[in-house]
């Protein structure tokens, strides 16, 4: 590796000849040239090159050029330019800002950042900007959920208690609802909220058959009933039972305790839905519908009129009666949900592998191949859908960046390449 120990760079000699050096540095370079034969030779070469270049002389400009410019100059008014009395004219600020490349570049950058944040940023970044109303709604819903999660047993003297042991479509309901007296509703409200309780229980048992009999016994002991029961018994897999049982609300704790004693509890969930508002609303609507029905029947009894009017009143009475019956059924269903808690029970038999009952090796290989192809297809589809989802945004970003990048590369690209090639910037 050769190190140039020459005190003056060649380009400095050239700049000296061109008169582009500061006076102090020019004096130093001139002194050096006087004592350096190499630089004197370079000086002579540069002068000769400049001399040779000047041999390229262009023919005189055509006279037509003068005529055209002269004619245009005559059109200029012979006085100060209107609106520009000052010597220094300035472009309006708004034009400088609007047409500034920096402005456009900044706008493009902000647009890109916005798109990228919108498409790729995690949702928690937007949390501080959420609408206050949505936050309030969220908190409200969270509050309701929390309220529903807190399961409250009806008070012992609940007016909404069912007569135990007579559950069914015609269960005897004891309470103000049975008499359909909406006037009593304020008294109902004093007893507390009406909660429809639910529970999910997954239990691992040793023997499903024994556990099933135990479940039936527990349901009977607690005056409940089984709404559904499904048993799965597949080859090579443990037997399972999926059941939904309904237990009177006041006995759900003891029933759950008994069910959990069947085996090892794998999962337990309890929840509740408050239906107080629905019941009150339903009772109010039912009261209005019944009063309307009574008024219509009075009209039918006391008034006379055209046949068409009578038929019209009868039709309205029929519709009102249908509405009343529908609301009564709905109210009964709601009160049933409150009185009887729903328990979804899943019983899994502890698996014990047996010889000769598994899937053959060929079948396993086939299943693995099929699963592999399905996974590959699903993955390709997921990638395709992802591209469809973010592709337009990426394309917009690319189009937005392309023109500023192209402008910057055209303006500075060659200078950057030269600077990289030289490895350093010469300093005078």
């Amino acid at each position: 590796m050769m190190i140039d120990l020459h005190p003056v760079e060649k380009e400095q000699v050239m700049a000296f000849l061109d008169g582009e050096l500061e006076p102090k540095l020019a004096a130093q370079v001139a002194a050096h040239i006087r004592g350096c034969s190499e630089c004197r030779k370079l000086q002579g070469d540069l002068r000769e090159v400049s001399s040779q270049v000047l041999n390229w002389v262009v023919e005189p400009a055509p006279s037509k050029l003068t005529q055209v410019v002269d004619a245009e100059a005559q059109a200029v008014p012979n006085g100060p330019v209107p609106g520009h009395g000052k010597v220094r004219m300035s472009i309006p600020l708004w034009r400088r800002v609007v047409f500034s490349r920096i402005t456009w570049a900044t706008a493009c950058l902000v647009l890109c950042i916005g798109i990228v944040l919108k498409v790729f940023a995690p949702a928690h970044l937007y949390a501080p900007f959420q609408d206050q109303s949505s936050i309030a709604t969220q908190r409200e819903s969270e509050g309701i959920s929390a309220l529903a999660r807190v399961r409250r047993a009806p008070p012992p003297n609940s007016a909404f208690a069912w007569s135990t042991g007579e559950r069914g479509g015609g269960g005897n309901y004891i309470g103000p609802g049975s008499n359909a007296r909406p006037a009593d509703l304020p008294q109902d409200l004093s007893i507390g909220p009406m909660i429809a309780h639910t529970a999910l229980l997954k239990v691992s048992v040793k023997d499903v058959g024994v556990a099933r009999e135990a479940v039936d016994k527990i349901v009977r002991q607690h005056w409940g009933y089984a709404a559904s029961m499904t048993m799965h018994s597949e080859v090579g897999a443990p037997r399972t039972i999926e059941s939904e049982v309904h237990i009177p609300a006041e006995q759900i704790d003891s029933a759950l305790t008994a069910l959990k004693a069947l085996g090892r509890v794998e999962q337990e969930e309890q929840g509740g839905e408050e239906v107080t508002a629905q019941v009150i609303d339903l009772d109010a609507r039912l009261k209005n519908a019944r009063e309307a029905e009574i008024r219509l029947q009075d009209i039918m009894r006391t008034r006379t009129g055209k046949v068409s009017d009578v038929l019209e009143v009868e039709k309205v009475i029929t519709d009102t009666r249908e509405s009343i019956e529908r609301m009564e059924a709905e109210r009964k269903e709601l009160r049933g949900r409150v009185a009887y808690s729903s328990i979804k029970l899943e019983l899994h038999e502890e698996y014990q592998a047996t010889l000769g009952t598994g899937t053959p090796v060929g079948g396993k290989i086939r299943n693995a191949i099929v699963d592999g192809f399905q996974a590959a297809g699903s993955g390709a589809l997921a990638v395709f859908l992802w591209l469809l989802n973010v592709g337009p945004s990426l394309l917009l970003v690319a189009l937005t960046i392309f023109w500023p990048a192209r402008w910057a590369w055209r303006r500075h690209g060659k200078g950057w390449r030269e600077w990289m090639e030289r490895g350093r910037t010469p300093q005078l």
Binding site: V58, E59, A61, A73, Q74, P77, P80, G415
Partner: protein, 188 residues
């Protein structure tokens, strides 16, 4: 230009031929057509030569020279004497030339010179100079021509081409060294 050179009566001014380019532009902003006439006389041939050396078609070079001066006329209210009038004028001319080149082709067009004549050329001949310059790198060539023919300083060239001054100096040095090599090869 005779009409433009009529002096306004009742006003005594120093001879316009002794005024600087920038002073003439300011005079022209105040409405002096004579100032513009003087500027035109100073740069008519230079601007025409600027285009003529870079374009093959003399008619097109003349048109672009016209457009350059007309742009000065029409943009007189925007002129601000921040830099020399020379760099201002050649800035307009260079933008016209760039537009012309973009219109003709979307890439850098090589220097348009006449086809080289057969046989040996004399280095003192303009044809040899054309051929030698034509063989330079386009970027180096532009810097060399702006310096040698238009007489622009390093700073003006840097501002015109929008490149650093050091890049101007290095390109100019390389262009001159390349020309020297060609000159030596021709004479040996």
């Amino acid at each position: 230009m005779a009409a433009m050179r009529r002096r306004q009566p009742g006003r005594t001014r120093p001879p316009l031929t002794m005024a600087s380019d920038e002073a003439l532009m300011l005079e022209f902003q105040q409405g002096s057509r004579e100032a513009f006439a003087e500027l035109f006389e100073r740069y008519r041939q230079a601007v025409y030569s600027f285009f003529r050396r870079r374009l093959r078609d003399p008619a097109r070079a003349e048109e672009l020279a016209q457009e350059t001066f007309l742009a000065v006329l029409r943009g007189i209210h925007r002129y601000e004497p921040h830099a020399t009038f020379r760099s201002y004028l050649y800035g307009i001319a260079f933008r016209r030339l760039s537009s012309e080149r973009r219109r003709a082709s979307h890439s850098t067009v090589p220097l348009e010179v006449d086809p080289p004549a057969a046989g040996q050329l004399d280095p003192c001949d303009a044809q040899w100079v054309k051929r030698a310059i034509e063989q330079l790198d386009p970027d180096h060539r532009e810097v060399l021509m702006l310096r040698e023919y238009e007489g622009l300083g390093y700073d003006d060239i840097a501002a015109l081409l929008r490149i650093p001054v050091n890049t101007v100096r290095s390109r100019l040095f390389r262009a001159r060294m390349d020309l020297k090599s060609q000159l030596l090869a021709q004479t040996e």
